[in-house]
């Protein structure tokens, strides 16, 4: 099993009365809440944390893209990834990802990802999300009715820009470019860097991932219990399409808080978890469903699903737990796994096997968790949990992992020595 260390980069100083005084953490969050000098420290802490995780042997460090968002300070994850490319050596760099329809022309993504791949010696995982409604339709003004088609076309363009050897003209419905010929080109050119698709639970996305042989990632903040139905749906669909159950076809996001005792874990992680599920997910409902963002097929299955659930009176417990903001419900709902290393080992193995997910993306920093606490959580997990879960899925080959240059061929990055530079 691959254990990947994911950072959302949340602004850590939203006021306690945030939810009362402000309608939304996203789209129209007020600028007065943002202190750039505090953000200077946050960014530097966050990047330290990512580098620390790489040092401790996590298989990958992961970054993602959000706009006008109080819990995601990375409008450009590529900036962070390029810095990580220099400050890490063997860790995969998972950019999860670039929302393709937001780039004009989309070849910008092909170029920047190729740069990261070159700088890092071929360690890039290229994530291509459609992007949330808040990011794409509201913060970036994209038309919800055109978004998916633009996304799919941009994907075709980026992939062709990576793989086509000669300069070509791209005559798309939304993008027209006479001369497409990106420089640089990715190191991973057989045929291109691994492509991973974070998505909701739509059958169209599952089918597309299967057809293109991409990794499907379900990046929910609500943990493995809520994610079970989606992942079961994914695997059922794979079976229908004649695909094997290789767990590396899938990625899943899970919050974790590990400590010496369960009580200590509760003591440590309650505040950051409640900060995240309370303040960071305080999104105004008016930004949730721009018309056209959800395809009609998905609407149809959603409405049918709701009716079936209502008919079965499925699980009132899950329903109540959804959107929980207090630690007891957060833990009971499985949003955050907490406990001693051994308890977490057991839970991670359960998550891996029940969801059949080979790429586990861990959120070990969340909400207003301090750097010290993040490092503690990260180290304890690396030392006491990781060794006892790594063996999972050893019988499967991960065909979707980066293939970097051989270690001996890669550039030696000199250590950063600012004191010396100052003395010179």
């Amino acid at each position: 099993m691959k254990l990947m260390w994911f950072h959302l980069m949340p602004y850590t100083e939203l006021p306690e009365d945030f939810n009362k005084k402000h309608p939304s953490v996203w789209v129209d969050i007020h600028s007065s809440l943002f202190d750039p000098k505090r953000a200077h420290h946050m960014y530097n802490d966050f990047m330290d944390e990512l580098e620390y995780a790489a040092e401790l042997g996590y298989d990958a460090v992961c970054v993602n893209e959000h706009h006008s968002n109080g819990y995601g300070l990375m409008p450009s994850p590529n900036l962070i990834a390029s810095s990580l490319a220099r400050r890490t050596t063997d860790t995969a760099l998972c950019v999860m990802g670039n929302s393709l329809a937001l780039y004009n022309p989309p070849t910008r993504v092909a170029e920047e990802f190729a740069m990261i791949d070159c700088i890092s010696g071929g360690r890039l995982i290229a994530g291509f999300p459609v992007g949330s409604p808040m990011d794409t339709c509201y913060a970036y003004g994209q038309n919800p009715s055109l978004l998916r088609e633009r996304y799919l076309e941009a994907h075709d363009l980026v992939k062709k820009a990576w793989t086509e050897k000669d300069t070509f003209a791209f005559n798309g419905r939304y993008n027209q470019q006479r001369y497409v010929n990106i420089w640089p080109r990715p190191i991973q050119n057989d045929p291109h860097p691994p492509i991973w698709i974070p998505g909701g639970g739509s059958i169209e996305t599952w089918r597309w991932c299967a057809e293109m042989d991409y990794v499907y990632c379900y990046l929910s903040y609500y943990g493995y219990k809520a994610g079970l139905t989606t992942m079961q749906g994914f695997w059922n669909e794979m079976e229908k399409l004649g695909k094997d159950r290789n767990p590396y076809r899938a990625g899943f996001l899970q919050f974790v808080g590990v400590a010496e005792s369960r009580q200590q874990a509760l003591d440590l992680y309650t505040e950051p978890a409640e900060y995240f599920y309370g303040r960071c997910l305080h999104v105004d409902a008016r930004f949730a469903t721009p018309p056209g963002y959800v395809t009609e097929a998905t609407q149809r299955s959603g409405i049918q699903g709701m009716m079936q659930k209502a008919a079965n009176v499925a699980s009132p417990a899950t329903k109540a737990a959804l959107k929980a903001t207090n630690m007891k419900d957060i833990v009971d709902g499985g949003y955050v796994l907490i406990g001693t290393p051994d308890e977490v080992v057991e839970q991670i193995r359960h998550v891996g096997t029940s969801l059949n997910v080979g790429h586990l993306m861990l959120l070990l920093q969340y909400g207003n968790m301090s750097k010290d606490m993040t490092k503690y959580n990260t180290r304890l997990f690396a030392e006491k949990v990781m060794p006892k879960v790594k063996d999972l899925f050893g019988e499967w080959e991960d065909k979707w992992w980066p293939k970097p240059m051989a270690k001996g061929q890669r550039a030696a990055v000199p250590a950063f020595r600012p004191q010396l530079a100052a003395a010179e």
Binding site: C137, Y138, G141, N143, P144, S145, L146, R173, Y174, D284, A285, R286, F287, P290, P291, G292, E296, Q299, R300, I303, Q304, M307
Partner: protein, 259 residues
Amino acid sequence: MSDPKTTTVDVNGFPCRVWTKGQGPKLGFLAGLGGLPRWLPFLDRLAEKRTVIVPSLPGYPGATGHTELDTHLDWVLAVRQLIDKAGLAGADLVGASVGGAFAAEMAAIFPGHVRRLALISPFGLFDDDAPAADPWAQRKDAVPGLMCADGEKWNALMAPPEGANSIEWPIEMTRAAEAAARAFWPLGNTGLEKRLGLIAASTLILWGERDAVLPPSYARKFAAGINGKSRVEVIAGAGHLAYLDQPDAVAGAVLGHFG
């Protein structure tokens, strides 16, 4: 209230419903946000004096094909086909809200196609000094009050009729919102301001005095931009979809203008 006659015309290979009712000279109506999931008292009032012809724009209830329309030119040409195929070329034309923007385009770009024009709170402009509300970023419970002075009028428009398919009905309502968004996202500004000067038809501009989507000040911008004779009339007790709030007053004003 007898039912209108329903026919279907083809636009870009997709069906669009056309309702017809009444007698006398033809009068076309292009509906506003939400389209026409059902026939309205407003249309009955018009049908007392005129042959009322009501084509559904692509993607609105009774019609599909919005997914083929990528640019404003695509939309304008689709509406032109719809007008032609519904037999409305050269007739009087009423357009409201999103349909109002297209009615104005018809009069501007194809002046021979529109005899007289009536616009009810048309889309198409955006005023930085009086920003329009965002109809596509609203909490569900805020929508009725945004669309109508009396939110119940909107709820009645949207309510599934007896026997409606409980899965397809809400999808159809969302599709209408998507079609509007596809043509007018994000600000409702289609650059119509540049073409208002081409409108030579005599134009009545109606505005609900309590329009919560487009401030009534937009009426003056339309009147100032239109080249032909134009007159503004504010409808008391009406919101954005004034024909739902005050069907009699709006129909009366329209019929008065068309003569």
